[in-house]
Amino acid sequence: MSRLLQRLFGRLPIGWLQLTHNRTRFAAALAGVAFANVLVFVQLGIMNSMGAATLRPYTFFQPDVMISAGDANSLTDGGNVARQWLLQAMADPDVTDGMGLFIANVPWDRGDKDISLTTFGIDPVKPAFLAPEIATDLTLLQVQDAAILDRLARGLGKEEAAAIRPQSPLSFETQGRTVTAYSTFAGGGGFGGDGYMLVSDQTFLSLFPARRSAAPDHILLTLRPGAQPEAVIARLKTLISDPSLRIRTYAQAAEDDLVYQQTRRPTGIIFGFGVLIGVLVGLVIVYQVLSTDVADHLREYATFKAMGYGPRFFLGVVFEEALVLGILGFVPGLIVGTSILLIMGAITTLPLAMTPSMAASVFVGTIVFSALSGAIATRRLAAADPADLF
């Protein structure tokens, strides 16, 4: 290792030799860096899971354009949209079809605890609006009080969910009615609910008698293939005389939701700060390790100064140490971080996972911040006055 580094640097790898001279301290320093990495990984994982959980329900549907109320910052927030605008929008030659989407939460008494299912009321004869996995089962919903259940819902046993088939459905009571699930799809618990359920709009209106068929939560539109969504939206805005409505592409609506969750909702802001604090703690740990090391070797550095070594040499040594710590500390940090995210994901059913981009950005961040701490730590070198050696 030492020989390899020597070839690499064109000089003795002083930093490496210095760090590895005291094995116990080296292990402690690496543990410190690894801990900082784990901290950032966990915070980043939670923040990313919030994003993934926010975007997940959007993957159940595949319209081109979505019309929502002005205050509908997310799928479940905000007021209704009058269905008359759906008819108006159909007047545009590029709009091929439209569907009202109803959304509300239903409680499900699971004995030891209640879980909350975010329920979507949809038109069961319009599979074009749904993701293929769901579209194939859509006809099942034409039966009154039929449902397609989220098999990843929190509190639903794996085997129990796997047993749900048209020939062996699962019935349960909610909102004073008996709902029967004939099939399942892959949803998953989020921050707002424990899982999802799809029912027909008729079943939805029976479950929620106060809701009116003339006022869905969102209006979904599909466009003729090759149509320019932006041009259609511009025309729809003149066609629909309610300026408070938000008419956006479906992808834009999902992105707006994500930005809203990350920047305007307390949870998003808290997770963002979690990442920031993780980075700061990591910076402090690496700085502490490096500056202690510089302080411990002031006498040696002063000797090297006396021998004629210049500032670039010392900066190189400290950078070398920063790189060694950053790279070697990252490995255990990645292993422990991934394990913690897996365990947390299994417990919460949130989409918590180590992603390659997370690993890459934390690695680059570790190297950059290590080098930065190293650069700050070299300021202590000014105290290494060779004249004091005599």
Binding site: L12, H21, R299, T303, M307, G308, F390
Partner: protein, 231 residues
Amino acid sequence: MDSDAVVDVRGLNHWFGSGDMKKQALFDVNLTLKRGSFTVLMGPSGSGKTTVLTLVGCLRAVQDGSVKLLGQELNGAGEGQLVALRRRLGFIFQAHNLHESLTAAQNVMMGVQVHGGVPDRTVEQAALHALGLVGLADRTSYLPGNLSGGQKQRVAVARALVSSPALVLADEPTAALDKDSAAEVVDLLKRMGQSRGTTTLLVTHDNRILDRADLILTLEDGRIIRVEERN
């Protein structure tokens, strides 16, 4: 100025502290070190010996007077010039000041690498050769922690001399050593200096060394009070 002089000091004054605390440490010091000479600077502690050494060794800025080292004036010299000059010197400290994390050979290699651009193999060979000259050929891969006091100081001598410096500055190199080790280290300095034409300035109050000196300067209260030429 004598063209054969490695060091030529004229009218050197030096002060420490500032304001009311300002105290003069050196008064009108003059000295000349001829190429290849072995000079001992004597005097009680606090007499200013070390100050002279650090000024000549480019480790302190010259305040007043002239210090010419290897033909270059140090008074008013820039940091870059001082660092470059230091590379042509060899320092031996009272404490060996070896790097604890480096082996004996690696410590000596640091004395070669400072010049830069030397191939790894050459650096290593030079270091091993220097260690052989100080009688430590069988200790090259030892860490300083596993060497005796005399052996460590010999490694330090090898480090100072490995790149054949024009001037070796040694500050009480024998203070921490027993009689035999001290004699060995001084003989080594003297012998290697002679064979390579190196000039040596050695600060000490160890009388055991004096009979090896070509020139003995005695400093007291910042003034040179006696100049004694031998041989």
